[in-house]
């Protein structure tokens, strides 16, 4: 307790030098929390959006289906059992039938993935009810990115060609019922959504689906002949992306922290040489060398406590403000799941981790110069003789 009391007294008494160090360190504090808060906010929004728009609470896949291998799509479909249909009728599950197709906008040809989905489904956020709001049964909804890439707008008609279950090509005109805006690129890029019944009829695959999306209230457990893919599996790519971003952020935070810690290290080295007489006096007054080492170490570490307080003074209002308005990136089309506006998320764990990290590093860098005190002869220290 004495060491802490003395350390803070010495620090506050040191004036400008202390506040310069504390300011740099507090900036590192705020930056670490802000950066991680941003990534965590992005992570939470991204996961929620992906669940809301694409994967629900998990999916049951046809055993042959592989989302990364288009060649598997043609044979990845199976009949929906009565048991499954009961759950579908209770809005606990929604089936999706997937096929490849080609559209011909403005005379160009463009490969698309055509997904059949129940217009009445309530599990995914996709505005599938728009499919029922248009007279043309061969209507589709598409995302904003897709619409921009193929230069289609709501109401436009475009020729589509597909192969049915027997491999026979067929083609007809479809109409764009509506265009939705979504932060999850895999839901949008190259995707078209059509009524499930219509697609089943087009493919001659009555009552069949490629995968089944589970809703929040689904509690039925495994379904025979379908493989359940949980959120960990379905979000693995997104999780890897977040981990990569965290790694990048750590490098930047590390640089910031190193600059702040160098300032503390420099101050501590200087202190030990400038304050030799003071060190000698402490020893003469009855402090042991290890207590003096402890005092200087705590003093260096105490920079981080002051930095946390200073950081809190301007960081908390800043974070609260950013949390209320979010940070808008416009409409980024980077092929990754990212919202237009990210609301940073500052968890208690993040704040505690940042505090522990900074306090621990500041204490460690303070300890190394302070160790020199333990080798000092008190008589030399009192005379200020050490070089």
């Amino acid at each position: 307790m004495i060491a802490i009391k003395l350390a803070f007294k010495n620090l506050l008494g040191a004036g400008l030098r202390t506040w310069l160090n504390v300011s740099v360190l507090s900036f590192a504090f705020v930056l670490i929390i802000f950066y991680n808060g941003m990534i965590e906010g992005w992570n939470r929004q991204g996961r929620n959006d992906t669940q809301d728009w694409e994967i629900g609470q998990g999916q049951f896949w046809h055993p042959e289906y592989d989302r990364y291998d288009f060649f598997t799509i043609r044979d990845s479909h199976a009949r929906l059992s009565d048991e499954i249909n009961t759950q579908i009728n209770e809005d606990k599950l929604t089936p999706v039938l997937i096929t490849q197709a080609t559209i011909y906008p403005q005379g160009r040809n463009q490969g698309v993935v055509l997904r059949g989905i129940d217009p009445q489904q309530k599990i995914l956020k996709l505005p599938t009810s728009d499919l029922d709001n248009i007279q043309n049964e061969y209507s589709v909804i598409i995302g904003k990115r897709m619409a921009e890439s193929v230069k289609l707008t709501a109401g436009d008609k475009v020729l589509i060609r597909w192969r049915d279950k027997n491999g026979t090509f067929d083609a007809r005109e479809i109409q764009i019922a509506s265009i939705f805006s979504c932060d999850v690129p895999p839901v949008d890029n190259g995707q078209m959504y059509i009524s499930l019944n219509v697609l089943q009829e087009m493919l001659n695959l009555e009552n069949e689906a490629t995968l089944i999306v589970a809703g929040k209230n689904y509690t039925g457990g495994d379904i025979k002949n379908w493989e359940f893919k949980d959120l960990t599996f379905l979000l693995a790519d997104f999780d890897k992306l977040i981990q990569a971003k965290k790694g990048g952020a750590m490098i930047m935070e590390g640089f910031m922290l190193i600059i702040a810690l160098l300032a503390i290290f420099d101050t501590q080295v200087l202190s030990i040489f400038r304050r030799q007489k003071e060190i000698g006096t402490y020893i003469a007054l009855g402090l042991t060398r290890s207590q003096v080492v402890g005092l200087f170490t705590v003093e260096g570490g105490a920079h981080s406590i002051l930095a946390a307080l200073l950081g809190a003074a301007y960081g908390i209002p800043l974070f609260l403000y950013l949390d209320s308005i979010g940070i808008t990136f416009g409409t980024p089309d980077m092929g990754i799941t990212i919202a237009e506006t990210i609301y940073p998320y500052y968890s208690l764990g993040l704040i505690i981790t940042a505090i522990v990290l900074v306090v621990l590093s500041a204490t460690i860098v303070s300890y190394f110069p302070a160790r020199k005190i333990s080798k000092m002869k008190p008589t030399d220290a009192l005379r200020g003789k050490l070089q």
């Binding site: 004495i2 007294k9 040191a14 003071e278 020893i283 007054l285 009855g286 402090l287 008589t379 009192l382």
Partner: protein, 229 residues
């Protein structure tokens, strides 16, 4: 009864490949309540002897027993405890801790003794009363004159009611008036509290106050005599 016993004390410092003998076969003893001083020219070994008695340094040979504890056999921790409990220091350059107030400077030694805040306050105020600085409790060292600073240093050394006070050239940075003032203060404390004062000095003014003068030359005691009228 002697509270300091020095037998055949030798102190050598390494210099290049050889060594320099700062103290050579010193034999001295001090009883409780003495007001004594080491005098002699620079380099005669006064401060070195004071440092060894104060357990800030150790002998190369011989023994130094302070309060029944052999300085050469003490661990760092035991030496620190000896200094904290029994020995007060007064330095030429005052060595006040710059960021602390007068009160906190004087209080410092007591913080290490686990004394309650109310008792600490009482002891600090008493010590400041001895040196006549009760009106400066909240002042920082940079707001004090040289004489006032040295009086704070005296209060700091006396607050824990030590057995021994070691004063190394306490008047070297003071004018005549302030020198007499602080010497009178120390003399009074010596008489009233029966604390042993040992000085290292070459100041004639200090010598006039001493009851015992030990003259050192080239690390040897050349005379040890009573002084006071």
């Amino acid at each position: 009864m002697d509270i300091i016993k020095i037998n055949d004390l030798v102190k050598r410092f390494p210099v290049g490949k050889g060594h320099f003998t700062a103290l050579n076969k010193i034999n001295l003893s001090f009883g409780k309540g003495e007001f004594a001083g080491f005098v002699g020219p620079s380099g005669s070994g006064k401060t070195t002897l004071l440092n060894i008695i104060g357990s800030l340094d150790t002998p190369s040979e011989g023994s130094t027993i302070v309060m029944d504890q052999s300085i050469s056999e003490l661990s760092h921790k035991q030496a620190a405890r000896l200094r904290n409990m029994y020995i007060g220091f007064i330095f030429q350059t005052y060595n006040l801790l710059p960021v602390y107030t007068v009160f906190e400077n004087v209080e410092f030694s007591l913080l290490l003794q686990n004394i309650s805040a109310s008792e600490r306050k009482k002891a600090v105020m008493e010590a400041l009363k001895w040196v006549g600085l009760t009106d400066k409790v909240k002042s920082k060292p940079n707001m004090l004159s040289g004489g006032e600073s040295q009086r704070v240093a005296i209060a700091r050394s006396m607050v824990k009611k030590p057995e021994i006070v070691l004063a190394d050239e306490p008047t070297a940075n003071l004018d005549s008036k302030n020198s007499h003032h602080i010497l009178q203060t120390m003399e009074t404390l010596n008489k009233e509290l029966n604390v042993t004062f040992i000085f290292a000095t070459h100041d004639e003014k200090v010598m006039k106050y001493l009851n015992r003068i030990i003259t050192l030359e080239d690390g040897k005691v050349v005379s040890d005599k009573e002084n006071k009228s």
